[in-house]
Every structure is written in structure tokens, then in C-alpha cells.
Amino acid sequence: MSAEIKASAKQERDLAQSNGVFVLGEQKDGQLLPVTFELIARGRLLADDLGCKLSCVLLGAQIQDIEQVFQRGADHALFIQDEALQNFLPRPYQKAIAKLLEEEKPEVVIAAATTTGRTVMPLVAAKLNTGLTADCTSLTIDADTRLLLQTRPAIGGNIMATIKTPHHRPQMATVRPRSCKPLPLDCSRTGEVIVKKYENDTFLTTEKFLEFITDTTQTVSIEDAEIIVSGGKGMKNGEGFKMVEQLAELLGAGVGATRDAVELGWTTYPHQIGLSGKTVAPKLYIALGLSGKIAHLAGMQTSEVIIAVNKDPEAQIFKVADFAIVGDVFEIVPMMIEAIKQHKAKARQETCAG
């Protein structure tokens, strides 16, 4: 343990030398994943506030179109390249990232709250003996102290907590995918790709990647759906929840649910939206019979348009809704289904007439 105390003292000395904001990009089969550009958008704001450079860290064997990270707002790309990094394995990723951070000493490191980010970041934080805040919804720079203010829902999502890492570096946080939009593409932006090659022993591990199996059970993946219809406890029972699915089918939408609805067995876990489920940001989110606990809101509040139907006029979901109907879902939703059917029929007629 004394070695760790020494390490921590060393880190405090290193504070003055810390520089730059890093984001940990993600790739699959050599293709950059969209979450990389969301992280760059977040990182850009922080780097501008701190007046420093923004670097995008990437790991893999090969990565295509790496210059996209510059067109989306990064200044540098730091590419740790090795065959051993083709697929994600916690230990090689941990060791490679920790090595890079020890060399480069960034002030701030942001990763996505994906299965990858939420696995490797705690490993890296522990290795570097620094702080890490999971699932942040807001990241800002404190004007006085220049510290990263990391805000996340806490304790079942009933409250928000702002957290900082005053004496350890880097300051690290994960943010939920789809919790912010990428910057518009700027084709005039360029930057430098710095390829990092590390000794083989950096990547040594007893873990063996066997295979990736694509999930074929989910018909409409809610992460990709343009419209999501979601239901909560107010749907009363499994039979009532079918109305959510009915409206979704009519709209070609994905079906979402609160934790309560999943725990009551009305639908399955892949449909769960919120802090302990998925984060979504569709063009239209229709919330039916759900009160809007913070844990649920954390997973959907960046949706473009939010519609809510709930009989409780004080329901929290109304605070994030653009259009709200206070009323019984069992009265309103059938009317919605009817109205949309008529609208679709009319739209079809007009098309045929045209």
C-alpha cells in the first residue's frame, strides 16, 4: 500500500504539468463508432474553456477514415495500434491506456458510458489512483479552480450530485452515449495522427477473445429507432402495456419501458430506458403512464420532441415534455391510435390522388 501512497504524492506533484483534454473514442471492426463524435463535441467545449488542445485516443489494429475525428472537432488523434487491440479485452486496453496517460499527462479524460468505457475506465482509474465519475449528464469547467465539475444522477436518480477530483490527475468521467449531439462536420479541419506503438508485453493477458455473436433477438433496436413509445407502471398490467406496443407498431416505433414495467415482466430488459437501461435520443419520444423518475429521464431527456400522457398533473415527466395531456392513458391512447390511423389513411389518399 505504501507504493500507492507514493504514487498519489507523485500525482499531486504532477498536477502542474497536466495538459490537454483527452476523449476515448471507440471503434468496431475498424470503423469509428458515432459515440466517438459525441465525446469529441463534449471534449471540445472543455478544451476551449481550459484553452488547451483536444486529443482523441483510439485503440485498434486498423482504423478507417481516422481524419473524421478532426472534422468533428478534435485537434490530435492518438492511435495506439496493435493487432492485440482488434477486439476489446479489459487488460490490454487498461495497460495501453494507462501507459499513454502516464506519458501524456492529460488534465481531463472523458469516455463513453458504454460496456467498453465503463469497464476500462475504472481499471485505468484504479491503476493511476485517480478519481472517476460514472454516467455524467453534465461536464463543465469551474471558472475559479479550472476543475472539471462532473454531474450525475445519484441514489436511484432522485437527486443530482456534482463531483470533482481536486488533487488527482487526470480527472476522469464517463458520459452516456447519445446524451449530446456531435458537432457538424467541418471538412476544412485537419489534424495530426500520432501512432503509438508499444512493446508486446503491454498487451499481455491471460484473457482470450473467442468470438462475437450478433444479437438477432431484438427486432427494432431502440437505440436506432426514430420514434419510441414507452410505457410505465400506469399501464396497470401486461394487457395494458400491449397498448404501448400497439401504438409503437402503428408508428413503426421502438418499444421502451421504465424499470418498473420491466421488473413487473410486461416487457424485457433490452427495452428498459434509463439509468440502469439504455439511453436514447429519438426524434419523437411518447411517454405513456410513466411518472418520470430522474433515473428514467436520464435515459431519454435529450429526445428531440417529447410527448407525455399521465393522469397526475404533477408528474415529473411533464417537466421535460413538449406536449402533455393530463388524462387517463386508457382513454387518451385509443383516441391517439384512432387519430393517427385516420391521419395515415388521409395521407395515403392524398399521395394516391397526387
Partner: protein, 262 residues
């Protein structure tokens, strides 16, 4: 084969009470449950124990003295022994400090082949502590595990990740954190309940674990909570009240057409 399972006591309801002055959660010791994913972890350990002849299971918890109850429940479900990490010096521990304390407790448990934990707890929901323990023990830490196949000297695990599953093989010792797809939570047995009454738990404070007090609690935590607040949510909401007519729904439809949503 020796399996360790971490169990955390968490508030039993979503309606957690907060101290309005300090923003600290009020832990009354009443209405607490074992974190549901930890019960999945425990169930998996017991399943492995029942499928072989050479397995013992140790449950470890960190918390106030009342967390003893969680360990007794674990024994009632089939664990062989329980270790409680408890002491005022652990108060205010963040995930780093908790990870160090739990790693020290695992060392107290002796040679360990497999550590199984819940992927996250329902109160903090960070999901960070488990893999941090793996780091401090210098063993691989595998997350989001929805199936464990125990071989002679390794496990083949199925990780549920974005859009699919990853199959990974890792030799012992290894730590895995599991999600709720791994099994149906098991029940305490009568035999287990009787054992739980007689089994003595091992209780350690920081000194007992041989950890410097500066490494745990608030002192050992790199992060600080600086502010706790109720979230402000706001959009300019158009509110309509159901009045028995079709009007609110018609207005909703016009709104959706105007927004080019349908």
C-alpha cells in the same frame, strides 16, 4: 475451488430519504435489501457449488454493523462463510477507496479462484468498484457477464455488449460482474437458515485488514461530492387536460404534424 461473492446492502425502495442539510443519504438500517444483482451473483456461486464437489463460497460485505444481516442472508442462501468490512474510518469511501478495502478483504479470505459480483448496485449505480478490485488484486476483471461456464482451470464467459455478445475465456483467478440475465435469483434454504444462526462472521476494520487509514474513507477517495441538488428540468410544455372530447388529441396530432414527427 474457492469463490468469493460481494454483497451490498442497499435501500429497499426507490424513495430514499435525504438529509436536506447535507444531501447525505439517510441509512436507517431499516428497509434494506441485498442489492438484487448481488443476489444473482450469489445464486450463480451457489449453482457452481452445487454442480461440483470441491467448492466453497465466501460472501464479503462492506458497510455498517447492520450489514451483518446481508451476510447471514447470503449464508442462508448457501454461502459457507462471511466477512464484514466495517468501521467508521470507511465512511465516505468512493469507488477507489472501496475497491482497495474489498481487495484487502479478499486477501483475508485466502486463495481465491473466482470472484462474482453484481454489475452495479441500485444505490450508487456506478458499476466501478468490482473491476477496481480486480485491478488491486492484479487479476482480470470481466464485466456485463450473462453466462459463466466453469471449466477445469478457467471460465468461458458471455459478455452482453452493444448489439451482441462477446465470448471470452479467462483462466483462474478472475473476477466477473454479472447482469440480471445470468439466472433467476435463488431462495434461502431451511438448512442454510439454520447454519446462518450459528456461523460466526469475520469482522475487520482497517487495522484488521492491514490497510493504512489514509487509504480508505474520505481520505482515500480522489473524488469529492461538492453539491447535491434536485434536478431542474424544463421545456416549454403545452399542457392539455382531458375533457372527454377528442380535442386534446386533435391538438396533439396537429403538433406532431407541425414538428414533422409523423
Amino acid at each position: 475451488m474457492h469463490i468469493v461473492v460481494f454483497v451490498k446492502q442497499v435501500p429497499g425502495t426507490d424513495n430514499v430519504k435525504m438529509d436536506p442539510e447535507t444531501g447525505v443519504m439517510i441509512r436507517t438500517g431499516k428497509d434494506v435489501i441485498i442489492n438484487p444483482l448481488d443476489e444473482n451473483a450469489l445464486t450463480e456461486a451457489i449453482k457452481i457449488k452445487n454442480s461440483r464437489s470441491d467448492v466453497s463460497v465466501t460472501a464479503i460485505s462492506m458497510g455498517p454493523p447492520s450489514a451483518e444481516r446481508a451476510l447471514k442472508e447470503a449464508i442462508a442462501m448457501g454461502a459457507d462463510a462471511g466477512i464484514l468490512v466495517s468501521g467508521r474510518e470507511f465512511g465516505g469511501s468512493d469507488t477507489i477507496a472501496t475497491g482497495k478495502a474489498l481487495a484487502a478483504a479478499v486477501r483475508k479470505a485466502g486463495e481465491v479462484d473466482l470472484i462474482i459480483c453484481g454489475e452495479r448496485a441500485t444505490d450508487g449505480e456506478t458499476g466501478q468498484t468490482a473491476v477496481m478490485v480486480a485491478n488491486y488484486l492484479d487479476i482480470p476483471g470481466e464485466t456485463y457477464v450473462s453466462a459463466i461456464d466453469v471449466k477445469d482451470s478457467s471460465v468461458v464467459i458471455k459478455r452482453t455488449v452493444e448489439r451482441g455478445f462477446e465470448m471470452v475465456e479467462v483462466p483462474f483467478p478472475v473476477l466477473v460482474s454479472v447482469n440480471k440475465d445470468i439466472n433467476e435469483i435463488g431462495m434461502p434454504t431451511l438448512k442454510g437458515k439454520l447454519r446462518a444462526k450459528t456461523v460466526a462472521l469475520n469482522i475487520y476494520d482497517a487495522d484488521g485488514l492491514g490497510i493504512d487509514r489514509a487509504e480508505v474513507g474520505l481520505n482515500g477517495s480522489p473524488t469529492r461530492v461538492v453539491k447535491v441538488f434536485s434536478p431542474k428540468l424544463s421545456r416549454d410544455t403545452i399542457m392539455k387536460k382531458a375533457d372527454g372530447t377528442a380535442k386534446p388529441v386533435e391538438e396533439l396530432l396537429s403538433f406532431l404534424i407541425f414538428k414533422e414527427c409523423i
